[in-house]
């Protein structure tokens, strides 16, 4: 999806929840709790959104180019998330700055994830899970899990910020039914 259309969505109506700042453990837990308890009356649907939130937000926390020292002394990645409420689905968007050199790698990761059917994606997740934590490529597992849980492909896009940085946006649709 092109940046322009993603941003048209975001600047439109239907924003249910949004945040910009460091994705530290406190932020993850506070928003996680809110999502779990109050997005909709359907607790199973809330749980699905929660699962997507946790997996994607942790990626921002670990991989955002911009870091901020929190009160607890954590170096948390800075980013933005938005949840929008549409008639048939929720739209969950996350964005964070990245080194421009990583754009091609991330684009390939997202494209690879979207190329799998469900069985292929499960096999890919198993492959990633066997890698030791912190090893190159393990960050993909959160993206894979978000795709599996949401049962929709990733929307992703990149906005050039300057010669060295880009803004990476990843979004997933979570169907209400």
């Amino acid at each position: 999806m092109e940046s322009q259309s993603l941003f048209t969505r975001v600047t439109g109506k239907n924003v249910l929840m949004s945040f910009t700042g460091p994705f530290d453990t406190e932020v993850l837990s506070i928003f996680g709790k809110n999502i779990e308890n109050s997005i909709s009356k359907n607790l199973k649907l809330n749980k699905t959104i929660f699962k997507v939130f946790i997996e994607l937000a942790q990626n921002v926390s670990y991989y955002s180019l911009e870091k901020e020292m929190t009160k607890k002394g954590e170096h948390a990645g800075v980013g933005t998330f938005i949840i929008q409420d549409f008639k048939d689905y929720y739209y969950f968007i996350l964005g964070n700055p990245i080194d421009e050199k990583h754009e091609a790698i991330l684009r390939d990761k997202c494209s690879k994830i979207n190329s799998f059917d469900r069985e292929g994606l499960r096999a890919y997740k198993r492959e990633l899970r066997k890698l030791p934590p912190g090893e190159r490529g393990t960050g993909n597992i959160g993206l894979v899990q978000a795709t599996l849980v949401s049962r929709n492909p990733l929307d992703y896009s990149f906005i050039e910020l300057n010669d060295k940085e880009a803004f990476y946006i990843v979004a997933v649709k979570i169907n209400k039914n």
């Binding site: 997740k125 198993r126 899990q145």
Partner: protein, 132 residues
């Protein structure tokens, strides 16, 4: 060797309940797992299981009743199941029962994938969350 007993909680993070008993050989992991430091939490469980399977060497029944775990936890669960599989391959008597909400298709797939990954037979036991 000592038993491990941890009371689970659901606050900012989700701590699973743990009841590993070396006298009965019954190990229960239940609740939800989304932790601030996954490795710090699961390392003692991994070590406990390694000690049990190398020193106690009695039958073991592993009961999993997790209703949610994140991908970070999923690696630690794989570590635990791999130890059980090695124990079984060495002649240990291992039973793994995984209780899951019958409506939770993601969990059902996760259990199937663990069986593929480890080669361990896992008894899949569905329950009805609304009535159980």
């Amino acid at each position: 060797m000592e038993n491990i007993s941890i009371e689970g909680s659901h606050t900012n993070f989700f701590v699973p309940s743990v009841d590993f008993n070396f006298e009965t050989g019954i190990c229960i992991l239940s609740g939800e797992s989304f932790l601030e430091d996954t490795i710090e939490f699961y390392d003692p469980l991994v070590q406990w299981l390694e000690e049990y399977t190398s020193e106690i060497k009695k039958p073991i029944t592993f009961e999993i009743k997790l209703t949610y775990f994140n991908t970070s936890t999923s690696r630690s669960i794989l570590d635990l199941l791999n130890i059980l599989k090695e124990y079984e391959d060495d002649g240990g008597e291992v039973t793994v029962n995984w209780h899951y909400d019958e409506d939770d298709i993601d969990m059902e797939e996760d259990i199937e994938d663990y069986m593929l990954d480890t080669g361990l037979e896992i008894n899949m036991i569905p329950f009805d969350e609304d009535t159980d």
